[in-house]
């Protein structure tokens, strides 16, 4: 039986539409009861309720991450569903999608339900399993997409992320097949032949550093093909971690045709560029790689105008020994759940590209819609589930300290970087999972 | 970066830092030898060499860079003029044989060039501008040892300022100049410095005189932080 909560004096993000964020948006009170928002208004009272004084804070609908690697089953040395869910809650997330490249892969109903159950056990964030597109992520045969969709986990998003579904015929079939249950194929766009042994964005930096290049065209060509396929069969396509300005243009074109194409961008691709690789520190090694300033600008613009629908972290934890080696040997990936909202504030709000209402749209409403999660991403109105995040945008800039993260892994490229903002509280169906910036459960 | 070296440096840096012309904080600078006096001293040394080596038969003059080299050349020229035949001349760089290499960053090397007739069986006269602790000459003897086997080695210096730390003495001295260890002796030669002179100065550079003062302390943000 969860307590009743009275949240006082908070500003709702949906009221903060100005660009740049102005003083607009009145402070209001929210009463959370029985897992829903019971009342919203001013000068509310709720006898016996726990009170949270939210003066100066912004309330966002609980954030939804479409893309995270929680590593369980198989790589529990890097992260478990429990630690990952806790990290997500601390980042303001009430739902996180767990990618399928686990060991064994999430390509059967059995593994999908296992992941889902572990998420419910952890309890601090809804964990939605993503199903593999192909068996074992091997790219040759479709996985049992229907079984996964019908399982208790109710999988709707399917992805071989980590690998590209590069066989055109297989991608077509997958897009067609999921129409039966309203699923969506999320593609990791990377032509394998053009990126064999690739280490870093192909460009001036890679040439100088002697690292094999990962050309932008290897992503853009696959996106173009898949948009055309999705249009041809009338199905839904989602593009994971868009990383180039060229990709944004192709997606813009596809959307202008009315095709069912959605896309996500990671926080690190909104801020970091490939010249960070110059010291050969593999904390900056990620797939798709960091690219140029022109790409960063194109991605920010794409997120601002909605061509890119949402921010997804691609949270990819790795143990120290996987990163403390030569660049070519190092694993690719960066953690991101606990820093995402702060990076988005830094790159999109502080620059005037997005207001807080739009942040709510890109980090909660749209990803919930793409993930087909009805209980998340809803506006903060009476009757809606009480999934919300309280955020302090005016918190003093603190350097990111990976040692303080709930994630088991420390591979964040933002270590030591002074980012604005602070997640103060997160509520999952009316139960606080984070209070005063710390895990509540 | 590495512990322990600040102490080494401090211990080794007890001597007065150098006083070049125009160096900040220079107290009194005295000219103790003028060009004419230098010329006369060199002429006398050249005569002495000829006298003691029976007319410089089988003598090779080797100057120690930097200023020992033009001095050796001048001596060779005078000796040739007085005696009527050429006296072979060359240079001997001692950097690689110094015993105090670790106290300073690695220094650029000077040229080592032996005359074609070599040094085996010859009388080598080392030539340098100032004789002080004697360590440079010791290094020169080591360097010579790996190059050949002279039958004798002698030493000619323009200035002997005393304070020997090794049993080394000069065979030919231009001028004896008693000095204190707080003083710095500088020889200027026209081939290198544009003029001939010998100067003595008290070297007092700001921030230098404290015991253990680390040269990094002279720069802002150096090893010891904000000391001027």
């Amino acid at each position: 039986m969860s307590a009743v909560w009275l949240i006082r004096g908070v500003r709702l993000a949906e009221g903060l539409a100005e660009r740049p964020e102005g003083p607009g948006g009145r402070a209001c009170d929210l009463v959370l009861r029985d897992g829903v928002i019971a009342e919203a208004g001013t000068r509310l009272s709720a006898p016996g309720a726990q009170v949270l004084d939210a003066g100066g804070l912004i309330a966002l609908p609980g954030l939804v991450d479409l893309h995270a690697h929680l590593r369980e089953p198989g790589r529990e040395d890097a992260e478990t569903i429990e630690t990952g869910a806790r990290a997500a809650a601390l980042g303001g997330y009430t739902a996180v999608h767990a990618m399928a490249n686990t060991e064994p892969a999430t390509d059967t109903a059995g593994v999908a339900e296992q992941v889902w159950r572990l998420g419910r056990q952890a309890g601090c964030c809804d964990v939605q399993p993503v199903g593999a597109v192909t068996a074992g992520l091997a790219g040759t045969q479709l996985a049992e997409l229907g079984a996964m969709a019908d399982s208790a986990a109710r999988v709707r998003v399917f992805s071989d992320d980590g690998r590209c579904v590069s066989d055109s015929l297989l991608m077509r079939r997958a897009l067609e097949y999921v129409k039966a249950f309203g699923g969506v194929i999320a593609q990791h766009a990377q032509d394998p032949r053009l990126t064999e042994g690739a280490q870093l964005n192909e460009g001036e930096v890679s040439g100088r550093l002697g690292l094999a290049g990962w050309p932008a065209v290897a992503e853009e060509a696959v996106i173009a093909r898949d948009c055309l396929l999705a249009a041809h069969v009338g199905s839904a396509l989602h593009i994971c971690h868009v990383s180039t300005a060229g990709s944004v243009e192709i997606i813009r074109w596809a959307k202008s045709k009315g095709w069912q194409v959605t896309a996500e961008v990671t926080p690190h691709h909104l801020l970091l560029t490939d010249d960070l690789a110059e010291g050969y520190d593999p904390v900056y090694k990620v797939n798709p790689p960091l690219r140029t300033a022109a790409d960063v600008a194109g991605l920010r613009q794409g997120l601002a105008d909605g061509t890119i629908d949402c921010v997804a972290t691609d949270h990819a934890p790795h143990p120290a020994e996987a990163k403390d080696v030569e660049w070519a040997e190092a694993a690719s990936g960066m953690t991101g759940l606990e820093t995402a909202l702060r990076v988005v504030q830094e790159t999109m709000v502080e620059t005037g590209l997005l207001g807080w209402a739009e942040v709510a749209d890109r980090m909660s409403a749209r990803p919930a819609r793409i993930g087909r999660l009805s209980g998340h991403g809803n506006p903060l109105k009476p009757g809606e589930p009480a999934n919300l995040t309280l955020y302090d945008p005016a918190a003093p800039r603190e350097p990111v300290d990976p040692a303080a993260h709930a994630s088991k892994s420390r591979n964040t490229p933002f270590a030591g970087m002074a980012l604005p903002g602070r997640v103060v509280a997160t509520f999952l169906r009316g139960v606080p999972t984070v209070l005063d910036g710390k895990a509540a459960t | 970066m590495r512990a322990g070296n600040a102490e080494d440096r401090a211990a080794g840096a007890g001597g007065p830092p150098p006083a070049g012309p125009g160096r900040a904080g220079h107290a009194r600078q005295k000219r103790v030898l003028e060009p004419a006096e230098i010329g006369r001293a060199l002429s006398r040394i050249a005569h002495e060499i000829l006298e003691r080596t029976d007319g410089a038969a089988d003598v090779v003059l080797l100057g120690i860079p930097t200023r020992g080299v033009p001095l050796a050349r001048r001596l060779a020229g005078r000796a040739a003029h007085y005696e009527g035949h050429a006296v072979p001349c060359g240079s001997l760089d001692v950097t690689m044989h110094r015993d105090d290499l670790r106290l300073r960053p690695a220094r650029a090397l000077g040229r080592t060039e032996l005359p074609p007739e070599g040094i085996d069986g010859k009388t080598v006269v080392l030539v340098d501008d100032v004789l002080y602790s004697g360590r440079t000459v010791r290094a020169a003897l080591d360097a010579l040892h790996d190059l050949g086997r002279p039958c004798a080695v002698q030493l000619a210096v323009l200035v002997d300022r005393g304070h020997r730390e090794l049993p080394i003495r000069a065979d030919y001295v231009g001028k004896n100049l008693p000095t204190s260890q707080r003083e710095v002796v500088r020889v200027l030669l026209s081939e290198v410095d544009g003029e001939d002179a010998v100067l003595i100065a008290d070297a007092v550079l700001p921030g230098d005189r404290r015991a253990g003062a680390h040269p990094a302390a002279r720069r802002p943000g150096g090893a010891e932080g904000g000391r001027p």
């Binding site: 890679s206 690292l211 660049w327 | 150098p18 044989h97 290499l101 340098d128 602790s133």
Partner: protein, 340 residues
């Protein structure tokens, strides 16, 4: 100079000239009956070679021994590394052994950078993946200077501004994309004032070569008459299977240096090769053995240059930030105040 020599691109013109001038002096040691100097006595140099290379490793070994340093050869084969020990753990072992300098050759670009962060000694990059091979570029520049600018070479140590390669036209031919020798040479030759032209099929030039401080060309015959130096790079046959060029025969026909092409060179021009050569592929036997070829003297020059690098890194005080600060460096080796 820095505490490490990890890349030629990080050398200033003064640094490079200091190394070359020092190498000139040290080259004379090879002509003496006693080919030894006591300068690095008591210092330990470790050769950490993860890639086989007898030639480079031996060169460093001879250089270190001529300076009286102790040398430890650590080759990856059959060692704990082959059993999966990480580079980092190997570095810790070297630390424990008290290595003053580690010479590293590794298959991964950036390995020398990483090692420099893990050891307190000096790191010398003997070739990291396709990134850089700084001592190769230094010995190449040394060779060019001796052959084409003997006055500069014989000039001895001078203040900055003298003794460089201004105006020398160098053509570097071959698989530039995968060549650490090319990258180091482009950087170093450029800083010494030379004009570099890269010649290769488009597939073997980095896409961003336009931002490099050099020209790029596809036509070797057009470049040769305007070159004072032609540096041939080794081409690996495996590149054929990755479709960089259709066949060895076609590559050799379009980019190989044979006698006919050699005749296109100006009379004074020299031919260089970092070795090992693919005779008959990128270079014809008669070219390799001609008087223009510097291939053999490059080997001897390698020892002198590596002696200079070891001396400049290890022969003096251990805090790099001091070089140039405080003490007025007079020309030559004399202490301003004699003794101490």
């Amino acid at each position: 100079m820095n505490r490490h020599l990890v890349s030629a691109a990080s050398l200033t013109r003064d640094d490079a000239l200091l190394i070359l001038d020092t190498a000139e002096e040290l080259a004379r040691v090879a002509d003496r009956p006693i080919k030894k100097l006591p300068t690095l006595r008591g210092r330990t140099v470790v050769n950490l070679f993860f890639e086989d290379s007898t030639r480079t490793r031996t060169s460093f070994e001879v250089a270190a021994k001529r300076l009286s340093a102790d040398v430890i050869n650590f080759s990856a084969k059959g060692s704990s590394v082959a059993k999966g020990e990480s580079l980092r753990d190997t570095a810790l072992t070297l630390e424990a052994m008290g290595a003053d300098a580690v010479v590293i050759r590794h298959v991964a670009s950036g390995a020398a950078h990483r090692l420099a962060g893990w050891v307190s000694g000096s790191v010398i990059n003997a070739g990291d993946g396709t990134h850089e091979h700084p001592t190769q570029a230094l010995l190449d520049a040394f060779t060019i200077r001796r052959r084409l600018r003997p006055c500069e070479a014989g000039a001895g140590p001078f203040p900055a501004g003298r003794g460089a390669l201004d105006g020398v036209r160098v053509a570097i031919v071959g698989d530039v994309l995968h060549s650490r020798v090319a990258r180091s040479n482009v950087a170093l030759l450029n800083v010494l004032g030379a004009e570099v032209t890269l010649v290769a099929p488009p597939t073997l030039l980095p896409l961003a070569v336009g931002s490099w401080p050099c020209e790029a060309a596809y036509d070797l015959d057009a470049v040769l008459p305007k070159s004072d130096v032609v540096m041939m790079l080794r081409v690996q046959r495996e590149r054929m299977s990755a479709a960089y060029f259709p066949s060895v025969r076609e590559y050799s026909r379009r980019y190989g240096l044979d006698a006919t092409r050699m005749a296109l060179l100006p009379d004074h021009a020299i031919v260089m090769h970092p070795g090992p050569m693919n005779r008959g592929v990128e270079i014809a036997a008669e070219v390799a053995d001609s008087a223009r070829s510097t291939i053999v003297e490059q080997v001897a020059n390698g020892v002198s240059v590596r002696m200079a690098v070891l001396y400049l890194l290890l022969g003096g005080a251990e805090f790099p930030e001091e070089s140039g600060a405080g003490f007025p460096e007079e020309s030559g080796a004399e202490f301003p105040e004699e003794g101490r």
